[in-house]
Symmetry: C2
């Protein structure tokens, strides 16, 4: 059982999408739990089944794929008020393709597969809530595909900097390069070119 104080951020976040009665809130809180991870720890590892959908209360995570050459490709970062999970693994309960690792000490609200199903069954509004979250994530993902095709590395970087200024500040540059799909060396060159242009 979780204290309401700890979960304030989650409840506030949810209230901007749906209205839950006090009983529904209590039910939800009785089903989820909070877990703390240290910087560097893995929440999900490639090959394991992703058992939880996680809501970030504090901290920062990266989700990434390691290819055949051992190179890391960062798919997304998650900070406060974001979700993180390998959804492909979670919804099918099969081994994950991706890793999720903490870039800072991180506090998460953990929704297990069974709990999510139980919540859907008991609070149909939550099905609506999660549908809407995923709809928006899907839209964002499609737009990112387009940006990766339509924009140069420089413009992708400028977009990232504009869109996620908070994330840029707390993450090493070589990880941003990976997220943008370029090498750390090239991002460095892009940045120095941007400085010259001003």
């Amino acid at each position: 059982m979780i204290s309401a104080i700890q979960m304030e951020a989650l409840l506030k976040y949810m209230s901007s999408h749906i209205q839950l009665s006090p009983e529904e809130e209590a039910f939800l809180l009785s089903k989820v739990f909070v877990r703390k991870y240290l910087k560097g720890q893995y929440i999900v590892q490639q090959g394991d089944v992703c058992k939880y959908e996680c809501f970030v209360l504090s901290g920062c995570t990266k989700m990434f794929y390691v290819d055949d050459e051992g190179q890391e490709h960062i798919i997304m970062f998650s900070i406060e008020d974001w979700w993180t999970s390998d959804m492909g693994s979670f919804i099918t309960q099969t081994p994950a393709d991706f890793n999720i690792q903490c870039l800072e000490n991180t506090v998460l609200v953990m929704f297990s597969y069974d709990v999510i199903e139980e919540l859907y069954a008991n609070i149909p509004k939550l099905e609506r809530f999660f549908r809407q979250i995923i709809e928006r994530a899907f839209v964002a993902s499609q737009k990112r595909i387009v940006r990766n095709f339509a924009l140069t590395a420089k413009d992708r970087y400028l977009y990232f900097r504009k869109q996620y200024p908070k994330i840029e500040q707390r993450i090493p540059q070589y990880m941003i390069a990976s997220y943008l799909g370029i090498t750390k060396e090239f991002l460095s060159k892009v940045k120095s070119q941007l400085i010259l242009e001003q």
Copy 2:
């Protein structure tokens, strides 16, 4: 009102996800309609609001973005038993970023925004159904982002050919190039190189 025969494909597709009672099926059929488009016609145009989520009964569509230089970037194709819409525009009912155009004569089942909401309200199972559809679309989209980073153009093409052999056959090569994020000239060179390798 739509005949059940015309909608057989939709009902069959839905039955693999959820079980609807005859009354629920009838209610659903009373709310949606079928529309036919000719090859070349637009279902959605950049700047217009996307009013429908469409289920493809027959035919083929492409969804694409036109960038500042006037270049076309194909985000996805849809054939039988797939969905098509500019979801970003649909869920917010704001102007679309993307175009959807028919590559063949195409028959669609049209779910308007209001109808979808009405269906969610009356048949909660459908909220679950669409949540699951979108979850899978999101997972596919994320994996495509990774492939675009981790694979060369040649390997992306080989993956596409293996994954969507039916689509490759009915679509001109320059559109496949656009979907893969390369020029038509380069795809041609990739293909000729693949022939030499055998």
